[in-house]
């Protein structure tokens, strides 16, 4: 199984450090194994040899119920002399958990430089071993390294490393410290498998694996029912998407005869353009994406996923895992570019999600919920990008979003950490995540304040911040494809493609406006105005430790300057144009050109200026609107706040979509299963009517026979005699 023994062909990367690509996922896996073992050693007490012997000496299991900072205040604070006890393995875990990520990041950077030096016409594929060689299905465990997966690997290990470091501070007093890092390492392992997998099933391993880790981490503080519920919901909703992914793979295998990513891409372009099969494959793949990347209709799990620790929200539910769907579409660009109808669907769903989630984001009070809906909305943007065939733009936004959203989440994590600590000191059970309880934090946490404003400007699309570049490129690409593209030539449900794209463009602009508004609202309520936390608590508000703010600084630099990765033609003055575009060209270039009918999208200079100008104006207007309209000074703490009414109530309750799903799908399924299938069919018809029914029938016959048995010997004798005479008589008279 030594991968080095398998000749890799003559790929130029084979001679470089990149041949160690299999080590990338293995490092976090090793971290998981070590941390997991430590977690077990720390928590477990092996039971007595004979478990059925009486339970006389009750264990001390009540003692330390672990809750986290996010657990909405009411945690072990009732223990008056509660002194946080560090886990006994904390030092070694703090070393290994982030350590493996640092090593992986180092390796990734080395691979990146190796890749810069060589031609990446073909992806670099490392075959580790034969995985599922069955019949016509010859699946190997292969790693695929190309520019696209390189970008993803850098984001995952880089941002992941920063978040691991942040977690050392954030989770320091949690009793589940080693378990936390074990899960986090495992997540990185699966995420790397996802982006490095050389075939769709292998990609699916990572795909489901990250879902599993997401499940474990959302429900990390599982002693609260709400957290356990949220984890379960995330997993099951994701599974609905996974069903789509599975069906897409069945279609690929039966129609294309292979499941290797390269093989599928090569075969897909041989199918008829826009044919039923290729469209079905693309749509089913996209169903998978709606689950993992929280798009309509399967976005409902992501806001609930905020039940997990905040660094988890930053890593999994903002920067990496939820963008897997975007990665999948970009990875399958050959398939999507052959199915314009599917592309339009992706773009439209992305646009609708961006808009819809942004409206909900306007009225949320929980700081993490604002960011959660913001994430859903931004993911919608990315899908608009990859949907219209602007794969680079989508991936570009994926990268910048990873920077500024991770920063926002970690920043909010710092805020929650500090708020929680303050409430903890005063034994107050109030909500540490509700913005109505915050306000004026800028004087207590100035570093976090400035860093989060950086991210806010980036996400709002203020010029020269990273979000500006990426969002603008997506919107520009949509506009460019309104005419003269495969999309414009096809139609979705009878609506011409050009019209659909214009609608998407409008949705994008509207969402941009709302993004600026809700982000400014969040900043105003959190950091500006008077403080509403409470008199006693105020004394305990202070900046989070450096191990937490340090990573924020790095992310802020990236959020501010990430736009230089792909500078548009228009701004060629400020730096090299289109670096990311050139980088990704070998992977998605052909597919992009297919959508734009072979020509690079050209726009008149004025049009482009107009578009950019509109976008900037909208961002500015949003911020200005929020600053003028919203009065942080007038806000009252959560406990004094009146209940929302009208449209506010609808928005605050997220359009009651969860309730609707519950009533439409969950309860009917459970109800029918219980009442009809179990009690009705199983217990009633099969068991009752047929099984026990036939037994009953036999018993009835038996009962009838038994009535002949009087128990009187005399009767028997008479019957015998009569019988004998009858028979004799019958013989005689015959």
């Amino acid at each position: 199984m030594n991968p080095a023994l398998i000749p890799e062909g003559a790929h130029p990367l084979a001679a470089t450090i990149a041949r160690l690509v299999w080590l990338l996922p293995l490092l976090p896996l090793a971290g998981f194994l070590i941390n997991g073992t430590l977690a077990m050693l720390g928590a477990a007490k092996v039971g007595p040899a004979d478990p059925s012997a009486g339970h006389d000496h009750a264990g001390d299991a009540h003692g330390h119920d672990a809750h986290g900072h996010d657990a909405h205040g009411h945690d072990s604070a009732h223990d008056d002399h509660h002194v946080p006890v560090r886990h006994k393995f904390a030092p070694i875990v703090s070393l290994i958990g982030p350590g493996v990520l640092v090593a992986a990041f180092g390796l990734a950077v080395a691979c990146f430089f190796a890749m810069r030096g060589v031609s990446m016409e073909h992806p670099y594929i490392v075959t580790l071993y034969q995985w599922m060689p069955v019949g016509d299905l010859n699946l190997n465990a292969t790693m695929l390294l190309d520019p696209l997966s390189m970008v993803m690997v850098l984001v995952i290990t880089g941002v992941g490393m920063l978040i691991h470091v942040f977690s050392v501070g954030y989770m320091q007093d949690d009793p589940g410290y080693p378990r936390y890092f074990a899960y986090l390492n495992l997540f990185v392992f699966f995420m790397l498998m996802l982006v490095l997998g050389g075939s769709y099933p292998l990609l699916f391993v990572g795909w489901e694996g990250v879902g599993l880790c997401s499940y474990l981490l959302i429900g990390f503080w599982f002693s609260e029912k709400a957290n356990a519920d949220a984890g379960k919901k995330a997993f099951i909703v994701n599974r609905i998407g996974d069903f789509g992914f599975l069906v897409a793979m069945f279609l690929m295998f039966s129609n294309l005869g292979t499941l290797d990513i390269g093989g599928v891409a090569a075969k897909a372009v041989e199918l008829p353009m826009g044919g039923a099969v290729i469209t079905a494959i693309a749509l089913f793949l996209f169903l998978g994406c709606t689950g993992k990347s929280a798009q309509i209709p399967l976005y409902v799990w992501l806001p609930d996923a905020m039940a997990g620790p905040t660094p988890v929200s930053a890593l999994i539910h903002a920067a990496t895992m939820v963008t897997a769907g975007v990665y999948l579409v970009a990875r399958s660009s050959a398939i999507f570019s052959m199915a314009p109808v599917a592309q339009l669907t992706v773009a439209l769903v992305g646009g609708l999600t961006a808009f819809f989630a942004a409206t909900i984001g306007l009225k949320q009070w929980d700081i993490k919920k604002v960011l959660a809906y913001s994430t859903v909305s931004q993911l919608g943007y990315m899908f608009v990008g990859v949907g219209v065939g602007a794969y680079t733009a989508g991936v570009f936004h994926l990268v910048t979003h990873a920077f500024f959203k991770a920063l926002l989440f970690l920043g909010s994590g710092s805020v929650i950490f500090v708020m929680h600590a303050a409430y903890h000191h005063t034994h107050n059970h109030d909500d540490a995540q509700d913005m109505r309880n915050m306000g004026g934090l800028k004087q207590y946490m100035p570093v976090t304040f400035y860093l989060m404003w950086t991210a806010t400007l980036a996400i709002a699309g203020i010029p020269l911040f990273s979000g500006f570049f990426s969002k603008d490129e997506i919107l520009g690409s949509v506009f460019a494809r309104v005419s003269h593209s495969t999309l414009a030539e096809s139609s979705l449900l009878g609506i011409p493609g050009g019209t659909v794209l214009l609608v998407v463009y409008g949705l994008g602009l509207a969402s941009a406006l709302m993004t600026a508004i809700y982000m400014t609202r969040m900043m105003l309520y959190t950091f500006h105005g008077p403080n509403r936390t409470g008199e006693a608590e105020r004394a305990h508000l202070k900046e989070a430790p450096w191990i937490m703010t340090g990573p924020l600084v790095v992310l802020a630099v990236l959020a501010a300057f990430g736009g230089w990765l792909n500078v548009p033609e228009l701004l060629s003055a400020i730096g090299p144009v289109g670096s990311l575009e050139h980088w990704l060209e070998p992977v998605v270039g052909a597919a992009t050109l297919r959508t734009t009918l072979g020509a690079a999208p050209e726009m008149a200079h004025q049009t482009e200026l107009l578009l950019v100008g509109t976008a900037i104006a909208i961002a500015m207007a949003g911020i200005a609107f929020a600053v003028i309209r919203l009065k942080p000074a007038a806000l009252v703490p959560k406990k004094d706040y009146p209940a929302a009414e009208g449209i506010d109530r609808v928005l605050e309750n997220k359009y009651f979509v969860d309730e609707g799903y519950d009533a439409a799908f969950v309860r009917p399924t459970v109800g029918v299963s219980r009442a009809v299938l179990w009690k009705g069919v199983d217990a009633g018809i099969i068991d009752g009517l047929f099984v026990n029914g036939s037994a009953l029938l036999m018993r009835a016959f038996g009962w009838m026979g038994s009535q002949l048995q009087t128990g009187q010997l005399g009767t028997y004798a008479w019957v015998l005699l009569i019988g004998a005479i009858t028979i004799l008589g019958a013989f005689t008279l015959r």
Partner: protein
């Protein structure tokens, strides 16, 4: 290893030894019961469980050699032994293996010691009889996998019933008699029709051969049946196997039997005995009656039942209040996948079906062991009686989570490989069935994760749960091999797939070719 095995002529004696060793074990335990009659009950119990465990362990170790000694690519039966048994009726003691049977034989011999360890402390009444029953059961189960004579097969098939009836009826739960009788009669009714079919086949083959014979090989190679006859006989065989699988709607014995059986009984029932049904289809029903199998109506009907079983089993599992019953219904769902894979009739799906067979044995076996362990501590199987025990019993919670994930079919565990192969293969021939069945991935996650949440997560509300002791070394030790299997088969299933691939391929090709009327000798085996 191979050289060593051939130097001791392993293949020549291993199968009779595997079948006889449990018999000697049973005699040994009987002897122990007589010798130790005057000892205190505690001492006798400790001795007899150790004695039984040793027998099972030796059996397992002996059988391991098969992994190396069997050549799966060779179309001839491996390790074959053919002795006269009832010459007047042409019944012979013919046993032999191919790759498919190999995996199931190993599953049996390796699961048995674990099952014994699983009931190490919970069975204290009549321990001698209990272990004798387990040993006799082993003979029956191995016999079914090994028999190459129809009468021998039938005898082995029925032998299994009696010890299992006793195990459920004597050492079971509250409604054990109901469950035991239901199990017995259900299975018996199914298999009686099969007996008729076997006798008919023997009658026909004897006419062809000129002397009485029930030889599997002879019937396969020489007996040509008219399609209608084939259909009826297939029906008779299929009913017997469908009850055992169990396919919807013949599954209702399973939840009762599983719930009432003691831990070892449930484990054996789930891990091994349910495989008899699917193995029966693979070994007998398919190659004996290819034209019936490939009949579109028959095939559509069986596939439909399989799909109903998959969805129905998961939905009913969703609402079970009793964890053991939940696992039982999940078995209905999993075995539905096996049936779908078999009747989709291509190499991928067949391989997937064989894989699910093994996976289900490992994962569900482990689940029943875990339920048994927690039941031994808390004396309840009701899900609602637990909650929040992950903090109290972290080892148990971790293992339960891993095993559940395997049962859900999360990639990286064995469950995924099997389900994926079944679905991806069956899509080629039965696309609708495949897509409908794929929704089971959603339901499986729903029922197991919901149960998991209510057992090990959520707040710890019941004070009696706070005192539960975690797993002990014995329990950890006996679960470890299963955990290794779960991960090994998920990450690197190739060795196992390689064992079954040639046989699966031969079977699929033979059925297709024979049904198409081509005289194909893919299954012709030289004796």
């Amino acid at each position: 290893m191979t050289a060593f095995l051939s130097s001791i002529n392993y293949n020549a004696w291993i199968l009779p030894v595997l079948l006889l060793l449990p018999l000697f074990g049973a005699l040994g335990i009987w002897a122990h019961a007589l010798v130790s009659a005057k000892d205190p009950a505690e001492k006798r119990w400790r001795e007899v469980r150790l004695l039984a465990f040793w027998f099972f362990l030796i059996e397992a170790i002996l059988s391991l050699g098969l992994w190396w000694s069997i050549d799966p690519a060779n179309p001839a039966w491996q390790a074959m032994v053919d002795l006269p048994w009832i010459p007047q009726w042409g019944v012979r003691f013919t046993v032999g293996l191919d790759g498919i049977a190999l995996t199931l034989v190993l599953l049996t011999t390796l699961m048995m010691p674990l099952a014994v360890l699983g009931s190490w402390t919970s069975i204290r009444t009549k321990p001698h009889a209990y272990y004798v029953m387990l040993l006799l059961l082993t003979i029956g189960m191995l016999g079914v996998f090994l028999s190459l004579d129809l009468v021998l097969f039938y005898v082995m098939w029925e032998i299994m019933l009696v010890p299992m009836y006793m195990i459920i009826g004597v050492w079971g739960g509250e409604r054990r008699l109901y469950a035991a009788i239901k199990f017995f009669i259900y299975t018996m009714i199914g298999s009686l029709l099969m007996l008729v079919a076997i006798l008919y086949l023997g009658y026909v083959s004897s006419k062809v051969a000129g002397s009485p014979t029930f030889s599997y090989d002879f019937i396969i190679n020489n007996v040509a049946l008219r399609p209608e006859t084939s259909l009826w006989l297939f029906g008779a065989f299929a009913l017997a196997f469908a009850v055992k699988v169990p396919m919807f709607p013949f599954h209702t014995w399973l939840p009762d039997a599983h719930v009432e059986a003691p831990t070892a009984g449930s484990v054996i029932l789930a891990a091994i005995m349910l495989k008899m049904g699917t193995f029966g289809f693979i070994r007998f029903a398919l190659p004996l009656f290819p034209s019936a199998v490939m009949n579109p109506a028959v095939r559509g009907f069986v596939v439909a039942l399989a799909v109903i079983g998959i969805i129905y089993g998961s939905l009913v599992a969703l609402v079970q209040p009793d964890f053991k019953k939940l696992v039982a219904y999940s078995s209905v769902s999993h075995l539905g996948f096996v049936m779908l894979g078999i009747f989709a009739m291509n190499v991928e799906s067949m391989q997937g079906a064989l894989m699910v067979n093994i996976n289900h044995g490992v994962s569900t076996g482990a689940l029943f062991l875990l339920v048994g362990m927690i039941y031994e501590r808390r004396h309840t199987r009701m899900i609602e009686d637990y909650g929040g025990i992950a903090k109290v019993v972290p080892i148990f919670a971790t293992i339960l989570t891993i095993v559940s994930l395997s049962s859900i079919g999360v990639p990286g565990t064995n469950g995924f490989i099997g389900e994926f192969l079944v679905l991806v293969g069956s899509y080629k021939t039965q696309p609708v069935a495949s897509v409908i069945s794929a929704t089971a991935v959603i339901f499986a996650a729903a029922y197991l994760l919901w149960a998991l949440q209510r057992i090990i997560y959520n707040p710890l509300t019941k004070p009696e749960n706070a005192a539960i002791k975690d797993l002990n070394w014995r329990e950890i030790g006996l679960l470890t091999p299963l955990l290794i299997a779960i991960l090994w088969l998920g990450v690197y299933p190739k060795p196992l797939l390689d064992k079954t691939e040639p046989a699966a391929r031969r079977l699929v090709e033979y059925v297709h070719a024979t049904a198409a009327g081509v005289n194909n000798s893919a299954l012709n085996r030289s004796r």
